[in-house]
């Protein structure tokens, strides 16, 4: 079966500024360094009606990857295929049908909806761009869209500032649905919302998927929220995919050490194994030139190996791969041991 979306070996770097002053400054500093790629060698697939979660900290390249799928950034290398056809081209060179099939929902609905236009305008505009509808059809479609995100018909005449955060995010989702897409890129759609509202939106996304067979690329920094939504999870660290697998595989040890850290950071689960005081803050947000990018923060690094050699991609199972020098057995051993050590209150040993 051809996957809905296939991302292969994608590499994206942000170009250095090319203005005269910027070039002059670089020349004077004799700065010839290549820009660090925001995403490197990323490969994954999304099937029809499936939810793939893309997880990582800010700066890990999640949004960059989503933007490249939407055609807003051009990858330097690699390819993107949608239903088997190559779509590695910017948004203005994509056929309207393709634009319709890939929709984007942003983090902050307050800034993605036009505050001076009624909901009627935002929904109608999407319908007008992609469909030729009679007045009556157009009206019915809009009512249907609002109903599908559980908003009363009266919301059609509201302005975005009159909506709560959760309501505005529902309108943004309705706007994406208006195009009848096959794939929706959900970029941190919950982060700006209260936990109780997050729960409602998650429920809505699940319901819409069951009804319409739409696929989601769901971007989040919190693993807990993807636990009950995603079919598969892709973990990104510093632009590299460090682990991917089914949701069960990701949440069951052995994990990639970075995934273990993300799991450990979820609030409200008592004792942490990796505390602020054991993790050196200076190692966060930077990656070394050689070896594994996560090595400076890793509790289980192998001296003489991890800081020198690029980690191999280990296949833990046909659907589960991990970018790490530690074998699955080694990871299982240290993760069980550090969990036991955390219970006993002792610091975990390095292997």
């Amino acid at each position: 079966m051809t996957p809905l979306l296939e991302v292969s070996d994608v590499r994206i770097s942000y170009r250095p500024r090319r203005g005269l002053v910027s070039r002059l400054v670089r020349a004077l500093r004799s700065d010839t360094t290549e820009p660090v790629p925001a995403v490197r060698d990323a490969s994954f697939t999304i099937n029809t009606g499936e939810t793939v979660a893309l997880v990582g900290e800010s700066g890990s390249g999640k949004t960059t990857l989503a933007r490249s799928i939407a055609g807003l950034i051009q990858p330097q290398r690699g390819s993107l295929r949608f239903e088997g056809a190559d779509i590695t081209r910017p948004v203005y060179r994509r056929p309207p049908e393709l634009l319709r099939h890939i929709q984007y929902v942003f983090q902050n609905p307050a800034s993605s909806l036009n505050p001076r236009r009624k909901v009627r305008y935002s929904l109608g505009r999407t319908l007008d761009v992609f469909f030729k509808l009679s007045k009556a059809e157009r009206r019915d479609r809009m009512a249907g869209l609002l109903a599908s995100v559980h908003l009363d018909p009266g919301y059609i005449d509201r302005y975005p500032p009159q909506l709560s955060g959760g309501e505005a995010q529902r309108v943004a989702i309705a706007q994406a649905l208006a195009a009848e897409p096959k794939l929706i890129l959900c970029d941190e759609v919950l982060s700006a919302l209260d936990v109780s509202v997050q729960d409602n939106i998650l429920e809505l996304l699940r319901e819409l998927q069951a009804a319409r067979d739409v696929a989601y690329l769901f971007i989040a920094h919190d693993l807990a929220v993807v636990r009950w939504l995603a079919d598969r999870v892709v973990v990104l660290y510093h632009g590299r995919i460090v682990e991917q697998g089914t949701v069960e595989e990701i949440f069951t040890p052995p994990h990639h050490p970075y995934t273990a850290l993300l799991l450990d950071s979820i609030p409200g689960k008592g004792e942490h194994q990796t505390s602020a005081l054991t993790e050196d803050a200076s190692t966060v947000g930077t990656a070394p030139d050689a070896g594994c990018a996560f090595e400076p923060r890793c509790q289980h690094r192998i001296e003489g190996v991890c800081e020198v050699e690029e980690p191999p991609r280990l296949q833990d199972s046909p659907t589960h791969d991990v970018l790490c020098h530690l074998s699955a057995d080694d990871r299982a051993r240290v993760q069980v041991r550090s969990a036991a050590a955390a219970v006993a209150g002792a610091p975990s040993e390095e292997i």
């Binding site: 900290e57 800010s58 709560s164 955060g165 959760g166 309501e167 209260d194 936990v195 109780s196 509202v197 997050q198 729960d199 409602n200 429920e203 920094h221 919190d222 693993l223 807990a224 929220v225 636990r227 009950w228 949440f251 850290l261 993300l262 799991l263 450990d264 950071s265 979820i266 609030p267 409200g268 689960k269 008592g270 942490h272 990796t274 505390s275 602020a276 005081l277 993790e279 050196d280 803050a281 200076s282 966060v284 947000g285």
Partner: protein, 345 residues
């Protein structure tokens, strides 16, 4: 229930370690102006914070938790007024103090860590200078001493290479580093009370976990009290001694943390706990919160009644008051005993 029994000390739960609490809030009512009318956004809220205690304040957007927390500073936003109640801090009523009298308290004895560090710090001033300003402003230290103390504080909040960071501008720091600078400013004068208003909401989970550990560490070392405001009960569970839950401007449950999480009595608290995203197991669907807090559509009785799975006709007409149902566990729900019986099979 008589009004005498529900006001003042009766509703302010006992502080954790006995004795006179550091802060006592009695029947605080705050109004906001809506056109020509005054609308109460905080209604008769009473609680206390003991010395060295961390109290969590939970609730959805718009429930009045931030307004309540800002009352610790004796002021509130323009277009609002304190319509009643007292906020007693170390024996003095803060709401009676003038701006000038409040000055030596604010920042020195009670300090604030707001939600968004990027908009708290002055963008055009080096971060070290901003800490020095606080120290000098309160006469704690000055000149070179203040700079030395700043570097020491930066080390204390876990900033790498403190002396170097002190010479940076806010935009040169990450969100987590900026929030550490704000925490350094907040603890600079060794306050008695630190008010944290959603300090980690804008940050990554990993950064959040590190900051929570840091705050726990600082509290343990300094023995200061804290009021921690958050919509995420999972965060409060980790850091607080007691948790108070607000809904539509009223306090609806307050209990020691473990007690609140093990035996939540108010239906709203149960819903909020169920809403915390967790990895372990999915919560039963029946407890999930339905709908949203609508201030324009509150019944005369319990504000939560329209969304409550346990509501009865009386709930819509009879106001609910906090009552102690276990030692130091207060709930504002007359159905609390039945709910526990129904929920535990």
């Amino acid at each position: 229930m008589t009004s005498a029994a529900t006001s003042g000390a009766a509703t302010a739960g006992p502080s954790a370690n006995g004795g006179e609490p550091l802060v006592r809030v009695d029947d605080l009512t705050v109004d906001y102006r809506n056109d020509d009318q005054w609308v109460s956004v905080v209604k008769d809220v009473s609680f206390s914070i003991g010395r060295g205690e961390t109290l969590g304040l939970a609730g959805e957007s718009g429930c009045g938790k931030t307004t309540t927390a800002l009352a610790m500073f004796g002021y509130n936003k323009p277009g609002s007024r304190v319509a009643g109640g007292r906020v007693t801090f170390d024996g003095r009523d803060l709401l009676d103090l003038s701006v000038r009298q409040m000055q030596p308290i604010r920042g020195a004895r009670i300090s604030l860590v707001p939600q968004n560090p990027a908009s708290t710090l002055t963008p055009s001033m080096k971060v070290g200078r901003q800490v020095v300003e606080t120290l000098e402003g309160h006469g704690v230290s000055s000149g070179g001493d203040a700079m030395d103390r700043t570097v020491e504080l930066f080390g204390q909040v876990g900033l790498p290479e403190p002396a170097k960071i002190a010479r940076r501008y806010p935009h040169q720091l990450s969100g987590g580093q900026q929030q550490r600078v704000v925490i350094a400013i907040a603890i600079a004068c060794r306050p008695d009370l630190i008010v944290l208003d959603e300090p980690t909401t804008a940050l990554d989970v990993t950064t959040q976990a590190r900051l929570l550990d840091l705050l726990t560490h600082i509290k343990d070392e300094s023995g200061m009290s804290a009021l921690y405001v958050s919509h995420n009960l999972g965060v409060l569970e980790q850091i607080c001694d007691r948790v108070a839950v607000m809904y539509a401007g009223e306090l609806i449950e307050i209990a020691p943390t473990a007690e609140l999480f093990n035996r939540p009595r108010h239906p709203y608290t149960r819903g909020l706990i169920a809403a915390v995203p967790r990895v372990e197991a999915e919560h039963a669907g029946t407890e999930k919160l339905r709908g949203l807090l609508r201030r324009d559509d509150l019944p005369d009785g319990c504000g939560f009644a329209p969304r409550c799975p346990y509501s009865r006709p009386q709930c819509f007409t009879d106001p609910q008051r906090l009552a102690e149902i276990e030692p130091s566990h207060h709930v504002a729900c007359w159905r609390a005993p039945d709910i526990e019986a129904e929920a535990t099979p």
